[in-house]
Amino acid sequence: MIGQARRNRKPLRAYLQPALVYFMLIIGVLIVVIPLMWALAASFTPNHKVFEYAYPFSWRALLPVDFTLEAYDNLFARGFGRAVGNTFFLAFVTVFVGGAANALAGFAFGRFEFRGKNALFMTIVMLTFLVPIDLTAIPRFILIENIGWINTWQGLLVPGFANSLVIFLFRQFFAEIPQELIDAARVDGATWLRVLLSIVLPISKPVLVAAGLLMFISQWNSFFWPLLVAPRQELRVIQVEISLAVGQYGTVWNELLAGSMIAAIVPILLVMPFQRYYVQAITGTGLE
């Protein structure tokens, strides 16, 4: 209502300002979009012509040269479809099983007082930051090898269940839940698991979605661990499949770009509708 009143008083400014806003946004988008357009166009171009107009750079680099589906054909001919399926499976199982484990622990860290709680929590979070994965990869690989999980789904999945950002989010969110809600249920004789399942989870949509997204995307993009632990073709995931286009003496650019374009679609489709939950989960503002 107030905006309405203002617009009536200052028509010129009211029109100019959005115009300026759109203009600046368009500039920003151009910086982002030009490279993307090139990548998309190049994925529809024969490999040896990929750099033809990017070099020297001209607007024609933004359109495919000699349009072809060669890259996509090759990619799917050598099993990209299976890799997409594998990655979906990997990501979904991680979201549900890993999510459950993290939610349980997050609930304990957020709602209970017990000796050594903070120390344990800090240790868990800190150790995950003891990167780089390449260094801890060898001892981890030795463990996985010793129990015979090489080239198995378990070997691919289980390490992805531990995600310190996710447990951090769960703890944060659960700690903000009003005590009265829980007390009421406890008085009614509900067990703690029941409290978690029927009282806490229904009001925790933001953190569930956010944690799910985080775990999904981290598995969707995972590269080094799957590469290491499951070299078998039947278990190959998207990023590993894409990287096979990068060779020692040359890169099949159009395949690399085509694979990346497909790989990028899913996270975008997932993040766009759910982004606000992520923020609510971190800020604890999404409590319904």
């Binding site: 050598r78 690989f141 030795i142 590469l227 003496y249 040359g250």
Partner: protein, 434 residues
């Protein structure tokens, strides 16, 4: 003929059935990099699988091959045939007992006759054989033949002629060398190793590698000063900053379209270079190669290995793996992989007819290389013969010489110190004595 095939087929089937009855099929695995290449190797290896039903070879395309191999093998897994980028990696794995000594297989399966004289020595660790050298490579000077002909230039023989020619090119507005390291930073070491060999001479490099003379020797200083001079004058790619940003694609396009005249690169580039010339490259030019000019005018070739093959200590089938390696390193197989997949051949006795169907420029290069190695005109590539820390130092720190942070002398002194440490610790890959 058809009948024979059927008979043969039945025989194979019978063999297969009987062996399945008696024992399970043994599978031996080997990892190769990118998918296209692995696919080509698979097709060649299928020839083995077809006639050996009890022993099946699985070629697995594995991105980031060496990193995954290293981690997997260290963790007690990995493929049966362990491939590494060179002797210093073999040395580390052998020290840790991750790969098997191969001496008994070499005797039993005749590898000592298959490989050329010095080649098996490259796989020695403390006197025992641990790896078989593969993908023989050397550096040559590619040049734009059409451009050379149009200007009446001929490939120079000596370093002085090269410098004079480069000056002429510079005056004509042509970049002498299309060099750049943006895609692969260790590209630097190609030039360091090459200039040391061509200017200081392979005998001095050998002495330095065996600790008889220091790296600060006058001849080495001269080599590095010449290299630095070329960088400073912008002969490598058009300027030092351009050198740091030129990708392989840029390098080869420049060479192809005549913006640049020459390119010192590995024989592995025989695979890609035709794409940048003639119709494929969108120009009317042709290419050829010449030996890298040396100070004395002799045709010297540095020898390098792209890969090594060893047997995983964890394999349940060492004997079968060795049987496969015998086939893999046979002249026939290596010839097929060279002409079908462009894989550099292993340093084996490769008969002339194994190279039929190959571009004459390519076969000429491998012939010249084997002649040079028989003729004491061979040198050493840094990635095959230098110990690991010195090798990293060579390509990392030389950039500081070029950017003017340190002098050539500082650089060589640093190298000398590091090399002395590694020499004393015994971390030196085997240098075949000359």
């Amino acid at each position: 003929m058809k009948r024979l095939k059927i008979c043969f087929g039945m025989l194979v089937l019978l063999l297969a059935l009987s062996s399945v009855g008696a024992q399970d099929v043994t599978t031996v695995s080997m990892w190769f990099g990118e998918s296209e290449y692995a696919q080509c190797i698979t097709e060649v290896v299928n020839g083995f699988n077809d006639v050996n039903p009890a022993l099946q070879i699985e070629i697995i395309p594995q991105a980031d091959t060496w990193n995954t191999t290293r981690t997997a093998v260290a963790g007690g897994g990995g493929p049966d045939v362990v491939r590494s980028p060179g002797p210093s990696f073999v040395y580390e794995m052998a020290q840790q007992g991750l790969i098997l000594p191969l001496d008994s297989f070499a005797d039993e399966m005749g590898w000592r006759d298959t490989f050329v004289g010095w080649a098996l020595d490259l796989g020695l660790v403390d006197g025992q054989l641990y790896s078989l050298a593969d993908e023989l490579e050397t550096l040559v000077m590619y040049y734009n033949k059409t451009l050379f002909e149009a200007n009446g230039w001929t490939p120079p023989d000596t370093m002085d002629e090269l410098i004079a020619l480069a000056e002429e090119m510079e005056a004509a507005g042509i970049v002498p060398f299309s060099h750049g390291n943006a895609d692969w930073r260790p590209t630097n070491e190609w030039f360091v190793g090459e200039f040391m060999t061509q200017i200081a001479g392979p005998h001095n490099v050998y002495k330095a590698l065996t600790g008889q003379i220091p790296w600060t020797d006058e001849s080495m200083v001269e080599a590095m000063e010449t290299l630095d001079m070329m960088q400073q004058r912008g002969w490598f790619g058009g300027g030092l900053d351009l050198y740091f940003t030129n990708t392989f694609d840029t390098n080869l396009s420049m060479l192809g379209n005549g913006e640049a005249a020459m390119n010192i690169e590995g024989t592995w580039r025989f695979n890609g270079i035709p794409d940048y010339f003639g119709e494929a490259g969108g120009n009317d030019n042709d290419w050829d190669w010449a030996p890298v000019p040396s100070k004395t005018g002799d045709d010297l070739f540095t020898i390098g290995m792209g890969n090594t093959s060893s047997i995983n200590a964890n394999t349940p089938h060492p004997q079968e793996t060795a049987t496969f390696l015998t086939w893999f390193f046979s002249a026939e197989t290596q010839g097929a992989m060279l002409s079908n997949c462009g894989k550099g051949p292993a340093p084996i006795h490769l008969p002339e007819d194994a190279m039929v169907g190959l571009d004459s420029r390519v076969s000429r290069a491998y012939a010249a290389l084997s002649e040079a190695s028989a003729d004491d005109r061979y040198g050493y590539t840094t990635w095959t013969f230098w110990p690991p820390k010195s090798d990293v130092y060579i390509y990392e720190e030389v950039e500081r010489v070029w950017t003017g942070e340190i002098t050539v002398m500082d650089y060589l002194e640093g190298l000398n110190e590091l090399f002395a440490e590694e020499l004393a610790a015994g971390d030196i890959p085997p240098i075949p004595s000359r």
